[in-house]
């Protein structure tokens, strides 16, 4: 199988297929569809690697990222997304927001 991420981040490859998602609605949807165990495993693996990943990405212009670097950036966005269930809520959804939604309709790319 072809790697999605730069070779330096092969250790994060097991999470790439699930979490390299280009849009907020996809990332938010994946968060709600995931178990806390899955999100904890992803969070624990990527958080210590975040600084290295950002340093790696800094060698490129934001609007000129090769595909594997874009995937890495999307993985960082997903890290931010799962940090709320992991760090704050202990559950995928914000507590007491059963009937609330907040749909993203536009976001900067990448």
């Amino acid at each position: 199988m072809t790697a999605l991420l730069p070779a330096e981040f092969a250790d994060l490859e097991p999470f790439a297929a699930k979490w390299c998602l280009p849009s907020e609605p996809e990332r938010y949807g994946m968060r709600l569809a995931s178990s806390m165990d899955e999100m904890h495993a992803f969070y624990d693996a990527i958080t210590p690697r975040a600084e290295a990943a950002m340093t790696y990405l800094e060698q490129y212009e934001l609007h000129d990222l090769p595909e594997d670097a874009i995937n890495l950036l999307h993985l960082i966005y997903s890290m931010i997304m799962v940090s709320f269930p992991v760090e704050a809520w202990g559950q995928p959804r914000v507590p007491d927001t059963g009937s609330a939604s907040f749909d993203n309709v536009i976001e900067p790319m990448p």
Partner: protein, 422 residues
């Protein structure tokens, strides 16, 4: 003991004596009859923000807006002369909606050379002029010059496009906005084009969501679990106080003091905030927006957190000290429902780290807004039951008091005396 000085009258509320200090009923948020009055007296009379000029980048760029509250559908378009104009989205032939795709009640946008009606092919120029009628000779006494699109009063301030559905607006846009708002001219709204936009349906009266975002008394409680426990308990003990409130004409302002998260003990901030150097207040590394116009942080709060300008009736511009801003719009759809639109705007990121910090700020904004949104339905249920009919507002909720009074004043000015208690 107040952390910030209050006006000489002893409170912000008493500084504006017309507001009173009595309990309020919120009948204005539960009555279908009152809502019908608001539609006429407020939403068909006030200037309404419908977008920004960046949405119309070139000649022929257009977007449509469905303003259900005013029973109006509007086309906003940039003409050949560069001017932004608005028209009722109605073909003059037999009333078909002129511009729409697939679903006539949904909004659309695009670029065109002219507008062509889907039904019988009548064509209108970008300035609204009727310039083609299919089988023109079949009509009787057709004067094309008098059958252009019906214009809607439209004006632009600081790149924000406003429309007014009155036959003749009582004030120009500039007069309506007044100096508290127009003193924001010079803020680089035009450069802050990196936008995260959100939309949701809320099962509550529109004024209740405005109330939720024009007081921060709720923040240390409703949002407590957004922060590490040590921070939350300190915040809850301290409570919330704003250093500055201002009411001018129909509009309102609250300024808050800043928090220097980057100087705090790591136990007080979330790990992801440290990783991304960002959070609720925005990216920790402040961007330089240049010199600020006099209307920004007008009370010169230091440290300064944000200014939340509540523009009557349903538009909010919130400027964060860290160099980004938000807009909120509340579009009523009935007495107990509305559509909420929120947008987060940044200078376009030029580095990966800046973009990641923006992502963290935008995602955090959504986490907070979800908490705010769900309490509204719960409040609507409570006040709609009618079993409790008077509710208390404290001094940090002074702006909520003003919104409801201002709406009531507009309703009263528009016709028969208001029958509901505030």
């Amino acid at each position: 003991m107040a952390r910030f000085p209050k006006p000489a009258e002893g409170s912000w509320t008493e500084h504006y004596p017309e507001l009173g200090t009595a309990p309020v009923s919120y009948e204005d948020s539960t009555s279908p009859e009152y809502y019908e009055r608001e539609r006429e007296a407020v939403f068909k009379r006030a200037w309404l923000n419908v977008g920004r000029v960046e949405q119309l980048p070139r000649v022929g760029s257009y977007f449509t807006r469905e303003l259900a509250v005013a029973n109006a559908a509007v086309i906003v378009v940039r003409g050949r002369d560069g001017e932004v104009r608005a028209f009722h989205n109605i073909c003059r032939h037999r009333g078909n909606k002129l511009v729409w795709n697939d679903f006539p009640r949904e909004e659309t946008q695009g670029v065109c050379r002219q507008f062509t009606c889907k039904y019988h092919g009548w064509r209108y120029d970008l300035d609204g002029a009727l310039n083609f009628v299919q089988q023109e000779g079949e009509f009787f006494d057709l004067d094309k010059a008098g059958r252009g699109l019906v214009p809607v009063h439209c004006d632009v301030w600081a790149g924000f496009i406003f429309v007014n559905l009155a036959h003749e607006p009582e004030q120009s846009l500039r007069e309506f906005l007044g100096p508290m708002i127009t003193d924001l001219e010079g803020y680089p709204f035009d450069r802050m084009t990196a936008r995260f936009g959100y939309r949701t349906n809320i099962a509550a009266n529109w004024k209740l969501f405005m109330d939720a975002f024009q007081e921060f008394y709720h923040a240390p409680v409703l949002h407590a679990k957004q922060s590490p426990e040590k921070y939350s308990s300190l915040a809850q003990q301290a409570g919330f106080e704003a250093p500055h409130y201002r009411i001018e004409g129909p509009h309102r302002l609250v300024s808050t003091s800043g928090v220097r998260f980057w100087e705090m003990d790591t136990e007080l901030v979330k790990p992801m905030e440290i990783v991304t150097r960002s959070g609720l207040f925005g990216p920790w590394d402040q961007v330089d927006l240049g010199e600020m116009p006099p209307g920004v942080n007008p009370a010169r709060c230091d440290p300064w957190g944000l200014d939340s300008f509540q523009l009557f009736p349903n538009f909010v511009i919130l400027l964060w000290s860290q160099g980004w801003y938000l807009t909120y719009h509340y579009w009523p759809t009935s007495h107990n429902t509305h559509v909420f639109e929120g947008s987060v705007y940044f200078l376009p990121a030029t580095s990966v780290r800046a973009r990641i910090a923006q992502e963290m700020a935008a995602v955090t904004f959504k986490e907070f807004a979800l908490q705010d949104a769900n309490t509204l339905e719960a409040t609507q249920i409570g006040i709609e039951s009618g079993y409790v009919t008077d509710f208390l507002l404290n001094d940090q909720e002074v702006l909520c008091r003003h919104l409801h009074k201002e709406v009531a004043d507009w309703v009263a000015a528009d016709g028969a005396p208001v029958e509901v208690r505030r």
